[in-house]
């Protein structure tokens, strides 16, 4: 494979070029209600060529090997145009070229498990909620994605890395009259098929909750103090803060860039945030990014102070900060962009009971349900929650969406729990889907969150 990639790189006359060829193999099984809706085993492939010439840095994606010459010519043309019209030339931070082959250690390799066995497991999971009358439908799916990546650069980097991801989701919908309520059970991971086994009890529990939500009260809109469970802490860390530790976003927002200099005090003293894609067995784990740089742990916030950022070679040079190995593509359809690996708030000292007690009156927000950011504003939902009165769980609540301002909210994190949990599957959609975006943290207490809802 590398020989044919060398031939493509030989077609460009550039200061730097790299090419990634990737085969993406997927196995998918999906059920909805009592019916199998999809089953397939597919293999697709393609190339991503990136070229730097006179400070112009461009990428071309192509699928047919026959299009290599046209793609190389287009990449050069785009790079030349960028060099002419950009206000400043792109530089790439220097790195030691890596020559390596890496395959992850898998507990139970999904490639060795038949699609029939995968189908049977999904069928059995899907049947659990359907035993209950109030459950009107389900969508239960398993997907494994195997990325076989071959990366070659004109600097001499030559890396073959395989990434094996298992993804599971079971969405459960309960209905009463015209009211529907839904919950999703998620599973999966980066180290094998065993990550999607043994989910029966979770599915059973969420089925009961979905039915209970039919009688839950919609939250009243207002400003509340809230305790977030680890899933919610994860999505808050990822959405509200994490995206602004991605240097390709900050680079283009001068006002935020000015505010988010290393050393600036962004959060309360108790706040520590890390991105660490080197934690094996978590879904965010990988060894090399899609520009051939080894990933490293980055302390993003220490004692409330901004201490690090996630970089590409381009942004590391632009910010004059060290490379971090965070350039990730979804697959062969895309050039890489900066992505979080495994981002989390480091645990503190409080038990869950302590946090409820300190909360007094407020809302306990449980399990993420979508999220989005727009600059310093963020918004995300919780699948469900509880009203907390005098530190005790009260009524079950539904329709929970919160929004807030990044800086204000980081400063409003007042207490951090002593537990730590990570998400089992990704799905961040910053232009491309990152199936391995991993996020987590402990329970945390945040003051003054805006919760949308009826007046």
């Amino acid at each position: 494979m590398f020989d044919s990639l060398k031939n493509v790189l030989a077609l460009v006359d550039a200061d730097y070029a790299d090419i990634r060829y990737e085969v993406r193999k997927t196995n998918q099984v999906a059920y909805s209600r009592d019916e199998l809706t999809h089953i397939s085993a597919d293999s697709t492939d393609g190339f991503v060529l990136r070229v730097l010439k006179n400070g112009g840095f461009s990428s071309v994606v192509f699928t047919r090997p026959d299009d290599a010459a046209a793609a190389a010519a287009k990449a050069m043309e785009n790079a030349r145009l960028l060099a002419q019209r950009q206000d400043k030339p792109v530089r790439l931070a220097s790195v030691e070229p890596v020559v390596a082959t890496f395959s992850p250690t898998l507990v139970e390799d999904p490639r060795l498990i038949s699609i029939e066995e995968k189908q049977e497991l999904v069928r059995a999971y899907n049947a659990i909620p359907l035993k209950h009358d109030k459950i009107v439908t389900t969508m239960t799916g398993y997907t494994d994605i195997i990325r076989e990546k071959y990366f070659l650069s004109t600097e001499g980097a030559q890396i073959h890395e395989d990434l094996v991801t298992s993804l599971f989701g079971c969405s459960i919908t309960a209905k009463d009259g015209t009211l529907t309520q839904g919950l999703v059970v998620l599973g999966g991971g980066s180290d094998g098929f065993q990550t999607v086994r043994g989910l029966e009890a979770s599915i059973e529990r969420y089925t009961g909750l979905a039915i209970d939500l039919l009688n839950a009260e919609p939250v009243h809109g207002g400003v509340y103090n809230c305790v977030l469970n680890p899933s919610m802490t994860g999505v808050f860390t990822h959405e509200a803060f994490g995206h602004f530790s991605e240097a390709d976003i900050i680079e283009r927002l001068p006002a935020m860039r000015k505010k988010m200099y290393l050393g600036s005090k962004l959060g309360s003293d108790v706040l520590n945030i890390v991105d660490d894609a080197t934690i094996e067995h978590e879904v965010g784990f990988y060894r090399f990014d899609d520009e051939g740089v080894p990933v490293r742990r980055v302390q993003l916030i220490k004692d409330g102070v901004l201490t690090g950022r996630l970089h590409s070679r381009k942004t590391a040079a632009e910010f004059n900060e060290p490379v971090s190995g965070h350039m990730i593509a979804e697959d062969h359809r895309y050039a890489p962009i900066i992505r979080m690996g495994t981002i989390y708030i480091e645990p503190g000292e409080f038990s869950q009971e302590d946090l409820f007690e300190r909360l007094g009156d407020g809302i306990y927000l449980v399990d993420k349900k979508g999220g989005q950011t727009a600059g310093e504003n963020f918004s995300f939902g919780a699948m469900y929650g509880w009203e907390i009165k005098n530190g005790k769980k009260g009524r079950l609540l539904r329709d929970l969406n919160i929004s807030g301002n990044l800086y204000q909210t980081l400063a409003d994190i007042s207490h951090i729990g002593n537990d730590l949990e990570f998400s089992k599957r990704g799905g961040c959609g910053k232009g491309q889907i990152n199936h391995r975006s991993c996020m987590g943290g402990p329970h945390v207490l945040i003051k003054n969150l805006v919760v949308g809802g009826a007046s």
């Binding site: 209600r33 145009l81 960028l82 950009q86 015209t178 999220g371 989005q372 539904r398």
Partner: protein, 438 residues
């Protein structure tokens, strides 16, 4: 662009036909280039030249599918689809024989020669205007798209279509907020951006220099075309044959019933070729047609693909994308007043320019709860300033039952992450619950 009309698809059809009752093959070849500016500076130029081939086999009422980018080994590709077929996904329908479709104007040859340089120049003009007339952080993306699609099946259907598109997204964002005033425009060929659009963006942006914190509660909300996505998304889920089959649609069994305001007529019109991506057939080869979803507020139709039509004992409405029913050409009948006239008639409320979190919440139920990015507060017909840290929440059926006005201008609303566009007016609704952090 080369049409890639090689004979390999016929060979693949013949090979697959030996193993199945019916066979469908769809090949899509795309060539796109885009030019992005960030903070009013040229940032990225990207090109993508791709193809994808989809294969579907039907045998004994079951279906199997496979997808690939390169037809390197036809036998292996068919084997993948056969393996999928063994799984037993139901397919209680026949593939259609479709021919003699009307001609739509979907292709403009001039896009083939639209250079990246020309898009850089247009973007520079836009950035220069917005930099001069607003204090915002300016972002743009211009792109050209050329695609060729061929669909053939064993019933004798052999259809192809060539499509071109040009898009320009532009935005002036409030510093630090990344919320701002933006527009997405699409056309079949390159169209220089009209000055009025630039002027509208600048005017609205500058109305937001003052931050206000009005008292929250129930108030009017003007959903601009871009933010209508929040409401249309929920309607598109509720009217899908998939939701009908799964019994999750709150509109189940309510055809003929008045659901929303009689001011609203909402339909899907794939034959509207004034915009890109008009189509005479869907991804299953079924002819498309204009389909009314709500006529003066009354629910008229659900939309179906082949499979869910068969399951619900209905007919495909030509809305199949290969994996389920989709709505890609939503329209709302425009009203008589301009957006500015609607604002002038507002006593107290918000003009919602950006919505965050349109995808979260109980979509089946029609509930929404969105952050404003941004919204403008209107009092006695005048925009008095910009609102931050606020959420608007409600239920789409409730909200659209209280329509106070519909604009005559229409704009684009992205329907979902997978693409698909609505071209819709702004809609002014009464009594939306708004929470504002004081």
């Amino acid at each position: 662009m080369k049409l890639h009309n090689d004979n390999s698809l016929e060979a693949l059809l013949a090979l697959a036909r030996a193993h199945a009752d019916q066979v469908e093959i769809r090949k899509v070849v795309t060539n796109t280039s885009s030019v992005s500016f960030s903070d009013a500076h040229l940032d990225e130029i990207k090109t993508s030249i791709r193809q994808k081939i989809f294969l579907r086999l039907l045998r004994d009422g079951k279906q199997g599918s496979a997808v690939t980018c390169n037809l390197i080994d036809m036998n292996e590709f068919v084997k993948h689809a056969l393996h999928s077929l063994e799984g037993g996904v139901e397919a209680p329908f026949d593939l259609p024989l479709t021919r003699d479709l009307p001609n739509l104007a979907t292709y403009e040859a001039s896009v083939e020669s639209l250079s990246n340089e020309a898009m850089v120049e247009e973007s520079e003009r836009v950035c220069e205007y917005l930099s001069k007339n607003t204090s915002g952080e300016i972002g743009t993306q211009a792109g050209r798209h050329i695609s060729h699609m061929r669909l053939l099946n064993s019933q004798g259907t052999d259809l192809s279509t060539d499509t071109t598109a040009y898009h320009l997204w532009l935005s002036s964002g409030y510093p630090g907020g990344a919320s701002g005033v933006g527009r997405l425009l699409m056309s079949k060929d390159f169209q220089p951006l009209a000055d009025e659009v630039l002027e509208t963006i600048a005017t609205r942006y500058n109305q937001g220099d003052t931050i206000v914190k009005p008292k929250d509660g129930l108030m009017q909300v003007l959903f601009t075309p871009g933010t209508m996505l929040t409401l249309l998304w929920r309607l598109s889920i509720a009217t899908s044959g998939f939701s009908v089959y799964r019994k999750t649609s709150p509109l189940l069994g309510r055809i003929g019933e008045k659901i929303i305001s009689d001011k609203l007529t909402i339909y899907n019109d794939p034959h509207d070729d004034t915009l890109p991506d008009a189509e005479t057939f869907d991804n299953e080869g079924v002819p498309t047609r204009k389909l009314i979803l709500f006529e003066n507020g009354v629910l008229r139709n659900f939309y179906y693909d082949l499979k869910y039509a068969a399951k619900c004992k209905a007919q495909s409405t030509g809305n199949g994308d290969g994996s389920g029913p989709v709505l890609n050409h939503m329209r709302i009948e425009p009203g008589e007043h301009s957006i500015e006239q609607l604002i002038a008639g507002m006593e107290r409320g918000l003009v919602l320019e950006g919505a965050m979190g349109a995808h979260s919440g109980n979509l089946n139920n029609g509930d929404y709860s969105i952050g404003v990015t941004p919204a403008y507060y209107v009092e006695n017909g005048k925009v008095v300033g910009r609102v931050k840290d606020a959420m608007a929440a409600g239920n789409v059926y409730e909200t659209l039952s209280h329509v106070a006005g519909i604009s005559r201008e229409r704009g684009l609303a992205h329907m979902n992450y997978g693409g698909g566009l609505g071209h819709v007016p702004a809609v002014l609704c009464d009594n939306v619950s708004v929470t504002i952090k004081q």
